[in-house]
Amino acid sequence: MNSPLWRIRLLRIVCVLILVVLIYNLFEIQIIEGEEWAHMADNNRFRHLIELAPRGRIYSADGVELAASVPTYTVALADEQNKNRREQTIVQLAGFLDMEPDAIREKLAKHQRKFEPAVIATDVDFETILLLEEYKHLMPSLVIQVVPQRYYPEKDLLPHPLGRVNKIDRRGVEGLERRWDEYLQGVDGFSVVQVNVENRPVGEPVNSTPAEPGHNLHLTIDTKLQRVAQESLRRVLKKLRDEGKSDHAWAGAVLVMDPNTGRILAMVTEPSFDNNHRYDKAWWAENIPADMPDWAKKLTDRTYQYRRPVGSTFKMVTGMAGLEYGVVTAREKIYAGGRTRINNQPVNDYGNAVFGNVDMRRALAVSSNIYFATVGSRLGSEKIYEYIEKFGMSRTQKNAGFDDIAQDEQVSSLDYRLGRTWVGGHTVQISYGQLNEFTVMQMGNYVSMLANGGIHYKPYMVEKITDYRGETVEFFEPVVLDQQDFSPENLKVIREGMQQSAARSPFLKGLPFAVAGKTGSAEHDRSSRKNMERWRDTHSWWVGYAPYDNPEIAIVVFMEYAGAGSRSIEVARDIIDYYFGLEE
């Protein structure tokens, strides 16, 4: 023993020093920085995947699926930090997708949210997806996402009200899709899957919330009635063009409502289009007649986004006001001599026809401008506007309260008084439906009120919202917005006048019940400086309800620049025939 043992003891102290150094460093990493490292470990191993919620469907009252949700496929790449593997994946994927590798690199470079996969291609066809599934072991960061997209199985049925969904963010941006977006959207699910060092998912998702499909809308629209109305309108417009009666008869609208509830049974706008190709120029070029003028091709819904002068269909407003204010009685006869001047305004009946002494009923039946101009001049504009308001047609009563479809600024009627020095002649003109402009929706409510005795039901087309299990989430009962206490006697006079008017039409002969109605041939406001050729044709209107005794449906037919109002009755007849099962 020639070496002192203290040297070994020193070595033991060195060992303890090593222990202290190591534990000190462990303490720093595990306790002080532990949380940061744990966060990094999670980033290492988790991939966030979003499961997109299928959009709620839209059904008609007769159970037809108007808007469906179909799966499309998106190819995406998850974050890949290994350069070699990333490059290899890019090159391979480029081959499968028939893309340039540089295009993929560019998309990856632009991608911001690293923990979510970067979208490389959308709407990838199913066969490519099958191939990719087969070879995805070569591309560990490949993510195939199912993206539910909108599809409209009924194509050109009801495209205007249904609206549109943005393909990218899948938000409703027009029509019902926009107004009810929060219900239709659903809640996206997500899952967090673990990936290993090769960026391959392993095991079951550690955390997942399944997507909840959006709610379904159930409309009051009857697809068969809608189809009948649409085809009839299209047929009549075409006939008018083909027969040379009106070169401009391209567009129009039909509204069918239940006057006892405000339910909208059909709302047609022509020209119609396949809603799956709403902005598809190629589709329009291929499917829309080449000679259709651009003004007609607008996507505007002519039932509620459009106002036009309504002509003689307005006369029931003046008539009701005159009777209710007692400025005229039902029996008083006013001489209609073809042409005259009232309040310094020249007034003439159609073709300067001399109707002689006419009372209210007869005046409605023959549509005498002179009669209603006289009543209007006795009333004065204030009282006429009061009755416009009572029938839900004023400027502030936008679309008579219809708000099932969103619009940035709801279209309202044109109040001709605004910004003008009012003269007596204006009062005369508005009495028989010139100057002011209304929407088809307002006219539908107006004729419904005449049919039901003065109840202003809110027009509506969404009746029910159900969730994906079919449970009802919301049910919409008819809403009474206003109720007028019109004198039943006065109302009866007006209705009888409408019944007599309808009875004169050859299109309404041979029905098992009487119908009430009124035509309108409205001139375009010619005070405008522009003077389009089509303005020489009047808008053809018909408003009415059936049956006369016990109204079940209220109908508005509007054919733009199609000439005399009587032409619209043909469309109304098709609707009545279908609705009451009267076709041969």
């Binding site: 023993m1 020639n2 070496s3 002192p4 043992l5 040297r7 070994i8 003891r9 070595l11 033991r12 060195v14 060992c15 303890v16 090593i18 222990l19 150094v21 190591l22 534990i23 460093n25 462990l26 303490f27 990493i29 595990q30 306790i31 920085e33 532990g34 949380e35 940061e36 490292w37 744990a38 990094m40 470990a41 999670d42 290492n44 191993r45 930090q81 290994n82 350069k83 673990q194 990936v195 290993n196 060092v197 090769e198 392993v202 095991g203």
Partner: protein, 371 residues
Amino acid sequence: MGKKLWKSYDYILLLTIVAISIFGVILVGSSSVTGESSFASLFSSRTFVKQLLWVAFGLTGMVILSVIDYTEWQRFKIPLYLFSLALLILVIFKGSSAWGAQRWLAIGKFKLQPSEPAKIAIILTLSATMAKEGRSLERWKDLLVPIAHVGIPMIVIFLQPDLGTSLIFLAITGSILFVAGMRWLHMAVLSLVGAIGSVFAFLFLLKPYQKARLIIFQDPWQDPFGDGWQIIQSKVAIGSGQFWGRGLFRGTQTQLDFLPAKNTDFIFSVIGEELGFLGASLFLLVYVFLITRILKVGIEAKDTFGRYICVGVAAMFAFQLLVNVGMTISIMPVTGLPLPLVSYGGSSFLTTMISLGLVLSVAAHSDTSIF
């Protein structure tokens, strides 16, 4: 083998060795089973089963070795030395390479890493040399023999190149010479020469990949997906263990393969991740206890040969602990040194068992009471 052998046998040391070995084999299992593992699933891993066999085989060998009087080995000093040197030279010409270095000799199915048994050979032979009657370390020339003794195999290993193992030789030699009474002046001068030599070697002798690996630990983020990858993943693993750890078999870095060499060089990262600060500290405590216990055996040895063996083995353990654990927590360069008793690997485990068998033998034959 008499009564007195069992009386002075160091059962505490034996128990510590067995405990660490079993702990090690479970961790090797945990890091070898793909995906989340459990005790039951360990046996599905070939690595685990192989290591289990090595442990059983090694422990048995160790106990057998411990009852043989260690002094017998002094006689085989020269053949042992020459044989291990021959193996080391052979590996340079016939060895299989891994990561750019010639380290393995294939003997049938078994892959031998000659630098592992060489460590034992050096401990034994240097101890024998230094324990010779009348050897002094007073003069400079007294250092020539031991330096040449260790220097030759060390240079051969350095040429493989295996920097880590050649540095173990330095630690072993330094510790034995220190305990043997080397003068402070000599130590200071040699340390200085060594330091200058290291700088020189770093600048001119090392291959670029070695250089890069040596310095990357200071800032692994310089090359997070290359040389820095291992260090970062190891730190992520250990750090995310926090105080309690993720739980045995539940470390995500380990089970999802983010951790490289997780059952060999980076086994300590698995401990850190799965058992947390608590488990890792306890493990280090037990491990350092093992080393100080070996040194205690050295203090109580009946002769200097036994003492030097214990010091050499303790130095080997201490150096590898510091370098291996230091590597996982990024305070030491990545050298590829395994953690003795714990890391997966047959030659490493067997070498360790032989060295511990020798220490146990020193303890068992240390009986100073004279009959």
